[in-house]
Symmetry: C2
Subunit: 130 residues, 2 copies
């Protein structure tokens, strides 16, 4: 399996090495193996980072993401992982729904030509409460 240096990995995932070191420091990434003092990552780490980035974009904090991923490692934490995942599901649903409303609002607003996002009638249908 292909091995990556921190710079190479950073390039692949579109981050800076400092960010990866930071992730390691807060326990989001496992402490990488060292070759002559340098971090060496298995290619599979890319998936984990992609996952982290997705979750992050979805509004999870790094601490929450660590919670989700740690559950994999800790054998006893399965229950915790279930609980966290289950509690987050409706949140994610709500979030997706809201984002779609926004997306459609922007699209409709462009289409309808009113050029006034705030007052656009098309936005009145849903009523984005709370």
């Amino acid at each position: 399996m292909r091995q990556l240096g921190i710079g190479e990995l950073a390039r692949q995932v579109g981050m800076r090495p400092s960010a990866l070191r930071y992730y390691e420091s807060v326990g989001l990434l496992p402490a990488a193996e060292r070759a002559a003092g340098r971090r060496v990552y298995p290619a599979g780490i890319v998936r984990r980072i992609a996952l982290i980035k997705m979750a992050q974009r979805a509004g999870f904090t790094l601490a929450e993401i660590r919670g989700l991923l740690d559950a994999d490692a800790e054998r006893g934490a399965t229950r915790q992982w279930r609980a966290l995942a289950e509690s987050k599901l409706p949140e994610l649903d709500r979030f997706i729904e809201q984002t779609q409303i926004l997306r459609d609002a922007v699209a409709d607003c462009l289409a309808c030509g009113c050029m006034n996002f705030e007052k656009c009638e098309l936005l009145s249908a849903d009523g984005p409460g709370s």
Copy 2:
């Protein structure tokens, strides 16, 4: 039309008064009318704030949101608003897609019982690139 004090408004939209003052200070909210020195908001402001919160959750910075909403005010900025909105649409689409992948991943992972989010086979189908 109903008028709101800052505290009342804050309660309605689930924020603190300080956040609303902050929004005003950065130009996200128009400088509210004052009655005896106090801010008085028209009820319609709730919609604007809801909009701001949605956009924010979708990953827009406050500066970007201000850009979107300012376009309403500035007559000449219609072109800018179109451009910004159009440029953001594919971003929003990509974002929704990614979030749905994450949501489904979490859901499937709960369902499949593998209890290993990171290595779950169900995640291998998509390949969250970039």
